[in-house]
């Protein structure tokens, strides 16, 4: 069984589980129809979102770091949300916005995508554009314009985990 | 809850009128999307989930995309 069929079968299982959650019944007709539709969708998309993380399933260290990363991301979201909420409700509107450039160490496209979306998901920083290794970040309170220092402030916390998870 | 529904009804009418009188076509398309968004909520409140689902599918995605393609085809000065 080569790699393509393995990713297609993983995608089929995922879509079938999603179908079962959505229909909320274990009638045989529903399950068979869901399996057919899930395989069809996975075959047409060539198992696309699940081609890379197969290696992630093999190493227990990566699974552990993924779980830690989810909690780290959630607390980062809550912390920065409170910060932005404080800025919104304070009458003088203390913002200092600007677009800064940072450089990432991550090489794989999946890691870059997760990093960019994590930066976007934490309020106060917003990924405007990605060109190669350079991320252009709109920052609501610019503390430094230097590339290295801004990378240290914005992306280092995420990169530490993502480097282990997907390189 | 009935106050929220009445307020959303009034907001629907305001958005629809604004979509008619505005000069910019893109703004009119966005306002039409918002009208279908709120109308979909009102359909749910009126216990018609199937109509609300159709309204969500047609109003949010399909009609916005078709409006944008149509605006693309219009002349430059009418945008």
């Amino acid at each position: 069984m080569d790699r393509r069929w393995r990713s297609i079968s993983i995608a089929t299982l995922f879509y079938w589980a999603l179908w079962l959650v959505l229909v909320q019944s274990f009638d045989p007709q529903e399950m068979i129809a869901g399996a057919v539709v899930a395989f069809f969708v996975a075959f047409l998309s060539k198992g696309e979102p699940f081609t890379t993380p197969i290696n992630c399933l093999l190493a227990p260290k990566r699974i552990l770091y993924s779980i830690i990363y989810v909690f780290y991301l959630f607390f980062a979201i809550v912390r920065s949300n409170l910060d932005v909420a404080r800025r919104v409700v304070s009458p003088s509107l203390p913002i200092n916005p600007g677009i800064v450039k940072i450089k990432t160490r991550l090489k794989s496209p999946l890691g870059k995508m997760i990093l960019a979306n994590s930066i976007t998901l934490t309020p106060g920083t917003l990924t405007v554009d990605v060109r190669g290794d350079d991320f252009y970040i709109h920052w609501i309170d610019v503390e430094t314009k230097d590339v290295q220092a801004a990378t240290e402030k914005i992306a280092a916390g995420f990169e530490k985990y993502l480097e282990v998870i997907c390189g | 809850m009935i106050y929220l529904d009445v307020f959303l009804c009034v907001l629907t009418v305001i958005c629809a009128v604004a979509a008619m009188v505005t000069r910019k076509l893109v703004a009119a398309a966005i306002l039409a999307g918002v009208v279908s968004l709120i109308v979909s909520y009102l359909f749910v409140r009126m216990k018609a989930p199937d109509v609300a689902m159709t309204e969500a599918a047609i109003g949010a995605a399909l009609s916005t995309v078709i409006f944008l393609i149509a605006i693309r085809r219009t002349e430059e000065e009418e945008r």
Binding site: I95, P97, L126, H138 | -
Partner: protein
Amino acid sequence: MAAHHLAGALLTLLGALFLFLGALGIVRMPDLYNRMQAGTKATTLGNILTLAGLALYHPSWALKIGVIALFVLVTNPLSSHALARAAHGAGVPLTEGSVSDALAEDLSPEGGEAVES
């Protein structure tokens, strides 16, 4: 009245507070990018908290509400990033007090302003 009803309602109220703050931010902020910061991200946390509270209120639907929350969590940064990039490409200017615009500097090496549409 069960305890999980009260806890779920309180969590929903907290999430609705964040939804309200996001909408307030979209009114108060001076330019598009700051509006996006306050608007679409405070509402993400508000969405997750509200949906978690409602799932706690009605535990038998928790799985389905979790799927909705997952969709919101995945699609929201993508759409806000697409809007920000499109707005910067279309030449929506930053506000007066902005400190720097590294992207516009890199796009035009002479250090000129971003193109107006």
